[in-house]
Amino acid sequence: MTIGIPRGLFYYYYSDLWISFFDKLGINYIISPETNGKIKELGRKYSTDEMCLSLKNYIGHVAYLVDKCDLILVPRIDNYGRYQQTCTNFLAAYDIVNNLFDVDILDYNISYTEGATERKAFIGIGKRLGFSRKESLIAYNYALVKSHKVMKSKVCSNVNKLNCNGKKILIVSHPYNTYDSSIGGSVISFLESIGCVVIYSDLFDEDLCLKKSLDLSSGLYWKYSRLIIGSILLCKDKVDGIIFLSTFPCGLDSLVNEFIIRKLDVKCLNLVIDEEYAFAGIETRLESFVDIV
């Protein structure tokens, strides 16, 4: 049995967890390749035209995997508590994929307000794949520890960059945009090529960011946006400039980025990337922004 893992949306949050979980259980999996022209094309073909670019790419990844594996992993992640909700697309991804493609889906549900915890979800996956409760729990705990370790080392190296010399640019974006080669990849490699130190907004201590975000906005209830706000507050005095990178039309970013720009007095560049964007235009903007800061 092979499980297909689409490289989009959830992958960038949970890849370590999933991969070590499946490794421990000894299950084959394939991960779709980095977003390329073909995947983009597939995504455009199957998605509704108003969906955000990240979701379109995700659907492209799923379409790429459909005939290459037996099960596709599409979770549904609602919230981690009342004030830690996620984007609506994370809620709807399962049902969208289920209706677009005729394929078996390995799904799990995380909704802490309704009592569906991550632990329960992974036990459910294990059960679906034919493992006992104990086996999947061992694998889950192993994966959890391992992914925490990986995350911690990433956070350390990211925070250490704050003390570097050189122009420090904070990239504020969701991980599924930052690390997607077709969205954030080219931006980051360009910034590094002109000698900037790139700091990622998603690689900070989670609890600290969540706590810190309350200073600026007490009513915000999206987990990922709170992490972003927290990270900005943590290091806004240490960086030279902030780049907001969002895809068109991201629901969270449309409100939250505007809110941050209005509230905080920092040098920033708001990049909105859509389907038909040309990197040449963005390059010019990035260059002039780096010159200013």
Partner: protein
């Protein structure tokens, strides 16, 4: 301190119960929200971020208009989706524009916190009484029910009335009298009086009308086309309309409806898809099963939950072989374009019937 003046963003006719409630429980002036005009929309668009959903622009526009009229407290409702976060950004925008206005939000993170609301209201008016508020809340609940009940009937039949505009006139008179009621008995009396009148309006309805179901999000009650425009133009083709989303559904029935039906329609929707998306999918399935001739799905542009539901509704309609028409409203939607698409939709349904 000067006397408080409270303003609301325009949400269809529902500003009437809101005005009724707040004028009775708080000691302050309630400003009447101006109806949405092109100027409102322009004002909203000018100060909003570019790809925020359209209701944000509309509500911001009306808020600014109300503030110009002299309001110093603006109440925003807040809901489950992005709507729940409108208030913070709108507060920032309004204060950046140089107004000294309080923006009060009643519902946050999709749920109303009774204590928080009580604290907010108490800080607006120190003499605020809980008992009085409960009493009027009870009346308002019934008022919204009545409004939606009448509205449902009007939407079904407004296009077929012999003397045009009579139903809307009665509806407007009823809403006006609602503002003056003192207790539930008076409310019932007013409702009966006008409901009988509206039922008595003579209709010219052909026998085999084409039935169309309208699904979509709450925004449909705010957009200016909501004033029975869709119903009237559909009725001019001989179509009758069934519409679902209204305040009483969202406030009182939604939870129950979703809980009861999500298993029944599990073929298409397994989890809640956020805001009203899964409800709309379920509605679409039940409309298809009930033998409706077509479905019209209305949403504002960039409404993320509804965008998700669109692809599912497409699948539903393909399975049941029912035509579906998607409308996406934004600040620049014109009636002419709408009319053309409705005409084409009607032609298609009539051809299918033959």
């Amino acid at each position: 301190m000067s006397r408080l003046k409270i303003g609301f963003p325009q949400i269809g006719n529902y500003s009437i119960p809101a005005r009724f409630l707040f004028s009775n429980i708080l000691d302050c002036d309630i400003l009447e929200a101006p109806s949405i005009t092109n100027k409102t929309i322009e004002l909203g668009v000018k100060h909003s971020p570019s790809f925020v959903c359209t209701p944000f622009k509309y509500t911001l526009g009306t808020m600014l208009e109300v503030i110009d009229e002299g309001a110093n407290v603006v109440v925003q409702l807040g809901g489950g989706c992005r709507y729940g976060y409108y208030h913070e950004l709108q507060r920032a925008i309004i204060s950046d524009l140089g107004y000294n206005v309080r923006v009060v939000n009643l519902v946050s993170a999709g749920r109303a916190n009774v204590f928080k609301i009580y604290r907010e209201l108490k800080s607006i008016d120190p003499k605020f009484s809980r008992v009085r508020a409960l009493y009027y809340l009870f009346i308002v609940k019934r008022m919204i029910r009545y409004m939606d009940y009448v509205d449902d009937y009007i939407r079904c039949n407004v296009g077929f009335e012999v003397e045009k505009g009579l139903m809307e006139k009665y509806n407007g008179m009823m809403l006006n009298e609602f503002l003056g009621v003192k207790n539930v008995f008076e409310l019932n009396k007013v409702f009966k009086k006008y409901y009988d009148k509206i039922l008595g309006v003579s209709l010219n309805k052909p026998d085999n009308v084409i039935k169309v179901g309208v699904i979509g999000e709450l925004y449909t009650v705010m957009e200016p086309f909501s004033n029975y425009y869709l119903e009237k133009s559909l009725a001019s083709f001989g179509m009758s309309v069934k519409r679902f989303t209204n305040a009483s559904y969202l406030l009182f029935d939604k939870g129950k409806y979703v809980r009861r039906n999500i298993r029944k329609y599990s073929k298409y929707v397994k989890y809640k898809m956020g805001a009203d998306a899964s409800d709309n999918v379920m509605r679409a399935v039940s409309l298809c099963q009930d033998g409706f001739d077509g479905i019209i799905h209305i949403k504002s542009s960039f409404c993320t939950p509804e965008i998700g539901s669109m692809s599912v509704i497409n699948k539903v309609c393909r399975d049941y072989n029912v035509p579906v028409l998607f409308f996406s409203f934004d600040a620049n939607t014109s009636r002419v374009g709408l009319q053309t698409r409705l005409e084409a939709f009607n032609d298609m349904i009539e051809m299918r019937r033959k």
